[in-house]
């Protein structure tokens, strides 16, 4: 595959590429993580001025919002956008495109082999500054850095699936792989040696090994929350904020059913429940909400971990969705975000399938 050798570190090289795309007028805006050098505060930003690139930190290992979700509406503005996305963000975006909530038409997607991101608490506590240099060092050696999001540690989909440009950083140097005609077209004239190369497979294999082991551990740890009693215990502390669905790249409904009048109970309901059970949990329906969300979107879960990260009471929502999602998607050999042409399992069917599911 046609690749560009990066002389500097990957962040600098991509920053230069983004500035080049903006100044040459090939794109109107760039979506990337930003970090203000003086304060260290970071966010996801849309930049239109090439001079704004100094604040761009395309590979900052933080996810303040799933960029796939953020990109959703702006991708349909008709403006040409280059977006730097983590593999799960790109997959989340792809799932949204399938739901007609975004478009690849005017988009150049740039992704990288992902080492994972740190939970937002590390940003708030100010530990990020110390953690990032160690992170870069460790990921270059295909080792797992400490303190990542639980789902990142257990993520086996760290190689971007359908990006126009993907970046691989190995101990032998950094490469920019061009996967599509659009990538070739947009990078035309950008300085850098062109070679035929692929991402280092042994590097990927080593990463995969530790990820698979961590995934086994994560799923094991969730076993104790199984069964009705386990779920009651797990979701007992849920405050019902629905933050997990707000930050989810898949949950796109403007008017979530669970926040509609259907779940706005009245006096007779409470009376009836009290008479039947002798007590009532408030807020009601926390387990129903999560089970319902699982039926609506678990097969599309990309395991980005936003839901767990924003949960005010630290419920491991992401782990549960990842674990269950792999099974529900597996029923249809579906991999969320693999291919924008692959239809969502609940939108299609085969006449002969599934056997007797009684």
């Amino acid at each position: 595959m046609n690749s560009i050798v990066m002389k500097q570190d990957a962040s600098t090289a991509i920053r230069e590429l983004l500035a080049y795309l903006l100044s040459s007028g090939r794109v109107d805006a760039v979506l990337t993580m930003r970090q203000v050098p003086e304060t260290g505060s970071c966010d996801l930003g849309l930049i239109t001025d090439p001079s704004g690139m100094v604040e761009a930190e395309p590979f900052l290992p933080v996810m303040t919002a799933n960029a796939g979700q953020a990109l959703s509406s702006i991708s349909m503005s008709g403006k040409r956008i280059a977006a730097v996305l983590k593999p799960c963000e790109l997959r989340g975006f792809t799932e949204r495109v399938k739901r007609e909530q975004g478009s690849f038409d005017n988009l150049l997607t740039i992704s990288s082999i992902c080492g994972g991101v740190f939970p937002l608490e590390k940003v708030i506590s100010g530990d990020l500054e110390k953690l990032v240099p160690r992170y870069i060092e460790k990921t270059a050696r295909a080792e797992a850095p400490r303190g990542l999001r639980e789902t990142c540690k257990a993520c086996e989909e760290f190689v971007p699936m359908n990006a126009d440009i993907s970046v691989s950083v190995t101990e032998h140097g950094s490469l920019m792989h061009l996967h599509s005609d659009r990538a070739e077209e947009y990078t035309e004239g950008f300085e850098g040696e062109r070679i035929e190369a692929r991402a280092d497979q042994s590097h990927i294999d080593r990463m995969m090994k530790s990820r698979s082991a961590a995934k086994g551990k994560l799923f094991q740890s969730l076993e104790k929350s199984s069964g009705l009693d386990g779920l009651v215990d797990l979701f007992g502390k849920c405050v019902g904020c629905h933050g997990c669905s707000r930050v989810c790249p898949i949950c796109y409904c403007q008017h979530c059913d669970f926040e509609s009048i259907n779940f706005d109970y009245n006096q007779p309901y409470f009376q009836e429940s009290l008479e039947a059970r002798g007590a009532l949990r408030l807020p009601p329906d926390t387990i129903l909400f999560q089970l319902g969300r699982l039926t609506h979107m678990s097969f599309s879960c990309v395991g980005c971990g936003m839901c767990s990260d924003v949960c005010p009471v630290s419920i491991p929502v992401a782990g549960i969705f990842k674990k269950t999602g792999e099974r529900t998607a597996g029923l249809f050999d579906y991999v969320p975000g693999r291919d924008s042409e692959e239809p969502i399992p609940v939108m299609v069917f085969k006449e002969e399938e599934l056997g007797d599911i009684g």
Binding site: S226, G227, L280, R281, I357
Partner: protein, 145 residues
């Protein structure tokens, strides 16, 4: 939790029945004077695919001992493809129950056509017996759902 598994109780089976097939099948069973248990609590729906899996979960968490979903045989949907979608959603729901360690046997999908009154009676009897053996749904008394 209540575990009176051998108690001879009458289960409550919330049944979502398609107007064009299973519900008419239940009617036929009645006009043919076929016996089926009072455990079946029928709810008529316009198509099995009208039923959001959330309805089934709600019935389960509200203490239904079993939840039955009746639709047209594959290929016979009044709206052509509704039941194929139901089948996928139901498979997903069962998988979710299994992965979380919930009793997925308390959910049942059955294809019963409008002419299959005897089949409706048979499914009702067999499913009721199966649920009776499983015992009451622990969600009946579990408070903190």
């Amino acid at each position: 939790m209540i575990s009176d598994k051998h108690d001879d109780f009458t289960p409550r089976i919330t049944s979502f029945l398609c107007k064009w097939c299973s519900y008419t099948g239940a009617d036929l069973a009645g006009t043919n004077r076929l016996q089926y248990p009072t455990s079946i609590i029928p709810i008529q729906v316009m198509c099995s695919s009208r039923v959001d899996p959330v309805f089934l979960i709600k019935a389960f968490l509200s203490g239904s001992d079993g939840v039955l979903m009746g639709g047209c045989h594959p290929g016979d949907c009044h709206y052509e493809t509704g039941n194929y979608h139901t089948r996928r959603r139901f498979a997903i729901l069962k998988e979710i129950f299994d992965s979380l360690g919930l009793e997925s046997d308390r959910l049942k999908l059955s294809w019963i056509s409008a002419s299959e009154g005897p089949k409706f009676a048979q499914v009702s009897n067999e499913y009721t017996e199966q649920i009776r053996k499983m015992g009451k749904n622990p969600t009946r008394k579990s408070v903190f759902l």
